[in-house]
């Protein structure tokens, strides 16, 4: 395009010489394969990627700064929008951070209810991702199944909170209200449904030779690289490292529940897909145990709207569906945080893209993007 001026703008490009050097291709920010506005600049040699670089920031909404102007109640509503696929999972760690700073003991019943909603959100998120990953590989039917399956978990969330995605249900010191009538009766059937779905997802794509051909050995993420880049969540576990904040941290009483942390073997796209399907199964186990665990008691400590977070610093991490969600909260004793740093799974997970996208073919770009499972709102914040 250097001779654009000399030959005149309106000359067709096809009339000029075509060099056979590398071609720079801008995938995104508006492109059907990127969920949202991620931009990847790839240098191509034919169909082979020579170099790839994700360009972030097209959806930067300054959440960390916005949070400094808002009270905890307003902040939970804000953090629902971080990773909009799994809104509830973002608000809980922030509440935990405030509670820990204030030394509030959350009632057991509220903790268990948080666990149930947390895992339902994870089920919804993973169902969707399993489907959308099929779409990346050209299986046009898979996302429809994903959206359908997700709706059952979202129905339950809606029943409790009145919202499907942006629940805004967690409060400092508990949750907003108790579960409604009829909730307990509905859950077992839906868990049973998800168990059958796990089998469907395993059979639907994994038994498909084309799917295996497209994902086995593609985008292999070695353990050392994954740790260097700070990859977390299902992506890290698919590489064979059993790191799960639910097992390591004391929060929401997760350590009381009996569940496995499945790990993958090779860390390729196939393993990352299977990883999510297996985690859905474990989430079902956790919800079942939590329902048994749900004794009577208060669901809130009754902290008022004017609650001030005591001065101090704290870092709280939790295991979200897309990796570790962490809040580094500095409070100077006011209602609003003095400074808040949000660590999201998606951001760290896609930082490994330049490594993964080197030397692969163009179709594998979308396979890897899909398998990493990021939400651009979660990346840019």
């Amino acid at each position: 395009m250097t001779d654009l001026q000399t030959k005149g703008y309106f000359t067709a490009t096809t009339e000029r010489d075509i060099s056979t050097g590398d071609m720079v291709l801008n995938i995104g920010p508006q492109h059907p394969s990127t969920h949202g506005v991620l931009r990847v600049v790839v240098r191509l040699d034919g169909e082979r990627v020579v170099e790839a670089e994700p360009v972030l920031g097209y959806m930067h909404r300054a959440f960390e700064k916005l949070a400094e102007q808002r009270s905890p109640l307003q902040n939970t509503a804000l953090f629902n929008r971080l990773d909009w696929i799994s809104g509830f999972c973002n608000e809980v760690p922030y509440c935990i951070a405030c509670e820990k700073l204030a030394g509030i003991e959350v009632p057991k019943r509220a903790q268990v209810q948080r666990v149930i909603l947390f895992e339902l959100t994870r089920l919804a998120s993973h169902s969707l991702v399993c489907g959308v990953f099929g779409l990346e590989l050209g299986a046009l039917t898979a996302p429809m199944y994903g959206y359908r399956d997700r709706e059952y978990a979202l129905d339950l969330l809606e029943m409790v909170t009145g919202q499907r995605m942006h629940t805004n249900w967690s409060r400092i010191g508990g949750v907003k209200e108790d579960f409604p009538e009829g909730f307990y009766e509905r859950v077992p059937a839906i868990l049973e449904y998800y168990r059958t779905r796990v089998e469907q997802w395993l059979g639907f794509l994994i038994d498909n030779d084309v799917f295996v051909e497209r994902t086995r050995g593609i985008g292999v993420l070695p353990q050392s690289i994954a740790l260097e880049y700070g990859v977390s969540g299902p992506n890290l576990r698919a590489s064979g490292i059993p790191m799960d904040a639910r097992k390591e941290e004391e929060y929401l009483g997760y350590t009381d529940y009996d569940f496995d942390v499945p790990v993958g073997e090779f860390g390729d796209c196939f393993d990352r897909y299977v990883q999510r399907v297996r985690e859905m199964w474990e989430s079902c186990n956790i919800i079942e145990q939590a329902l048994d665990d749900l004794g009577p008691g208060p669901i809130n400590t009754g902290v008022g709207r004017t609650f001030k977070v005591p001065a101090g610093e704290i870092y709280v991490r939790a295991e979200g569906p897309r990796g570790e969600t962490g809040y580094y909260l500095i409070s100077n004793g006011g209602r609003e945080p003095y400074r808040l740093k949000i660590r999201t799974g998606s951001f760290s997970n896609i930082s490994v893209l330049p490594y993964l996208l080197k030397g692969i073919y163009v179709p594998d770009i979308v396979a890897i993007l899909g398998s990493l499972d990021f939400v651009v709102g979660d990346v840019d914040r």
């Binding site: 299986a139 046009l140 051909e213 163009v362």
Partner: protein, 336 residues
């Protein structure tokens, strides 16, 4: 020879047949893939279960602006959709629907069909090249590689049948299929052990498998839709097209699917032959079954990668096709 006065009437009939069959295929596609996806599909256009949807799909783009990108090679860009559409129509001219019911009964029917349907590659290259966009370029290169690789298995599959039937005329190929279904290798007397061995290999069935697999690559439907892979390169060569011109590509794709379904049922499943029902009905039933098969596979398979597709074509299908042709030749010579 057809009387000259009949030619315009025939042309109109064929045109209507093409438009009607693509419309029916589009409606079937909308409804069947919705069923596969656990949806209901179009329900409002045309009042009854969305039967008017194909017309709506066709009429809406007419109102849209016809955008030609500034940097595009305008004449080539504008003519490419027509070049895609015309061959798809021309193919229908020689497809026999029933004994004697054919637009042009030419002796080289099979040859003509294969030659004409390969022309769509040129239209895609033109579209990809003239759009002056990187995504179309990648898509165009993929399409060319794919069509070159998959034209051969289709030709070899068809040649196998032509050798068995000893004719290139589509009507005579149907007549040669005394056994109503897949053309088995040799239905005549077998001579000696070698004659039986070669005679019992289902050459026709092998050719059929090759032909069907290659057909998906030819029409660029899943699992071989890489040239227009939406999640990778937007819509490949068609990315810059809008309005009516885009719909021309769309229609040519659908006409292509109908044509290949018709050819597959003519070559391998005895065309209009069948018991009880009238020939035209048999032919339509067979074509419909193939059409549904195309839709079914399209919406259940993920997409292969371009290099995997090339590997499949050059390392498996083409050697297999050559072996089939050789095998049929040997069978023919032995059992003469």
């Amino acid at each position: 020879m057809t009387h000259w006065a009949l030619i315009p009437i025939q042309s109109v009939v064929i045109l209507v047949a093409v438009l009607l069959s693509t419309g029916v295929l589009l409606y079937a596609l909308l409804k069947i893939h919705s069923r596969i996806m656990n949806r209901v599909g179009p329900m409002y256009a045309g009042r009854f279960h969305g039967v008017g949807q194909p017309i709506a799909e066709f009429l809406k783009p007419i109102q849209k602006e016809d955008i030609v990108p500034t940097l595009a090679d305008a004449p080539v860009f504008k003519i490419a959709p027509l070049i895609a559409l015309i061959p798809a129509f021309l193919v229908f001219a020689v497809i026999p629907i029933a004994p004697g019911l054919v637009g042009a009964n030419i002796d080289l029917g099979l040859f003509y069909v294969l030659a004409i349907s390969a022309l769509s590659a040129i239209a895609i290259v033109m579209a990809a090249y003239a759009s002056a966009s990187k995504f179309t370029l990648v898509g165009g290169l993929r399409a060319v590689g794919q069509i070159i690789a998959y034209e051969l298995p289709i030709v070899l599959g068809a040649v196998t049948i032509a050798m068995i039937a000893e004719t290139l005329s589509l009507s005579k190929i149907v007549d040669a299929q005394s056994f109503p279904f897949v053309v088995w290798p040799y239905w005549g007397p077998h001579h000696g052990i070698a004659g039986w061995i070669f005679g019992l290999v289902p050459w026709g069935a092998i050719a059929f498998g090759m032909f069907m697999l290659a057909s998906f690559a030819e029409v660029m439907w899943n699992p071989f839709d890489m040239p227009a892979a939406e999640s990778e390169i937007i819509t490949g060569p068609y990315t810059e097209y809008s309005g009516m011109r885009f719909i021309f590509f769309y229609m040519s794709e659908f006409a292509h699917v109908v044509a290949l379904s018709a050819i597959a049922s003519l070559l391998f499943f005895g065309g209009w032959r069948g018991p009880i029902l009238p020939p035209v009905l048999w032919f339509l039933i067979k074509v419909s079954v193939f059409g549904v098969f195309f839709i079914w596979v399209r919406f259940t398979m993920p997409r292969l990668r371009e290099d995997q597709l090339q590997k499949l074509a050059w390392k498996l299908l083409i050697p297999l096709g050559l072996l089939t042709v050789l095998g049929v030749a040997i069978t023919k010579v032995i059992n003469k």
